[in-house]
């Protein structure tokens, strides 16, 4: 077995098909590297010298927000698509409901809510409604009997007006 012998060793380094770089290109490569180094250094210095708080204080956020068309932005957002990507079950699976429930001060809440007053108010309201229904029913029966008696006695005059009209405050 013999080693491969190249007729022109220079072809291992130079590709004859590729045109040689121009003189400008050859000079530009080191200049670009230098410029990049200088730029990075300058940026570092500028950033170090900047007072971000002062800059932020000068920015008129209200004016910027005033220019924003938030409605148009929101119209572009597909909320359904966004929400469809949220795995609610996975989120809920990570929530420790028992731990949360144990942290709730039920006794304190009940004390603040004044359950006695709420129960008394609701039960009082129910009792009042039942009582009103019973009263109305009795009054309707009174009305029916009065009508029958009126028919029997062949009354022609209408029933007397209310002794005290509803809403009278005199």
């Amino acid at each position: 077995m013999t080693a491969e012998r190249r007729p022109f060793p220079i072809l291992a380094v130079v590709n004859p098909k590729v045109p040689p770089p121009s003189a400008r290109r050859r000079a530009a490569n080191p200049a670009e590297a230098l410029a990049q180094q200088v730029t990075e250094r300058v940026v570092d210095l500028v950033v170090g010298a900047l007072d971000v708080n002062e800059l932020a204080a000068r920015v008129d956020v209200n004016a910027i927000l005033g220019r924003l068309d938030i409605d148009a932005m929101l119209r572009k957002i597909d909320l359904n698509s966004l929400l469809g990507q949220v795995d609610v079950n996975a989120i809920l699976g990570q929530v420790d409901v028992n731990g949360l429930a144990q942290r709730i001060d039920v006794a304190g809440l009940a004390e603040q809510a004044d359950l006695g007053a709420i129960i008394a108010e609701s039960s009082g309201g129910v009792a009042r409604e039942v009582l009103d229904a019973v009263r109305c029913q009795a009054a309707r029966l009174d009305e029916v009997i009065d009508r029958w008696v009126g028919l029997l006695l062949r009354r022609k005059r209408p029933a007397p007006p209310a002794l005290l009209p509803a809403g009278a405050d005199s």
Partner: protein, 166 residues
């Protein structure tokens, strides 16, 4: 047929059903209170003297005390607020014929005349059925009438602008 709203009844003359139902409640309440009072008296007497006191229903004394108690129950209730417990349940009120509050004197007359309405097969109550203002014998005697008055406080307010003769 649509039902009348509760507010439309306010101030109108109360009919026989409301009045009878309220009277039944009053009878139960007053008789119950009377029995409890008798039982308390018996117990107290037994504790203090050691003697057992028993009440006889047919006793004239007990009947007399019961009659006086009923008179006081109805008379005092009408004089104080124009309504008894049963009347409060059914939302009816005793007022004068001009709509003003019933005075104690008229309440006493009404209570005294009330038993007479039971005479002759409750003939005195016939006025509640046939009289246009549903006034019974004791109402005619006392110059009173019974009206519906329930619902929001102040919906029906007894008149105070009427001058009385005393």
């Amino acid at each position: 047929m649509t039902a009348r709203p509760a507010l439309s009844y306010q101030g109108h003359y109360a009919g026989p059903v409301s009045r009878l139902a309220s009277f039944v409640i009053d009878l139960v309440v007053s008789a119950g209170a009377f029995c409890v009072a008798l039982a308390a008296i018996s117990y107290g007497t037994q504790v203090i003297t050691g003697n057992l006191v028993s009440w006889n229903r047919s006793s004239g004394v007990v009947a007399g005390i019961f009659a006086a108690w009923e008179l006081a129950y109805f008379g005092c209730s009408w004089a104080a607020s124009g309504r008894t417990a049963g009347m409060a349940v059914f939302g009816i009120l005793v007022v004068r014929t001009d709509g003003s509050a019933l005075q104690p004197r008229r309440a006493a007359v009404r209570a005294l005349a009330f038993p007479f309405s039971f005479l002759f097969c409750c003939l005195g109550f016939l006025g509640i059925l046939v009289q246009r203002e549903h006034r019974a014998l004791h109402d005619l005697a006392a110059g009173s009438a019974v009206i519906y008055a329930w619902g929001t406080p102040g919906v029906v307010t007894v008149r105070t602008d009427v001058a009385h003769d005393g």
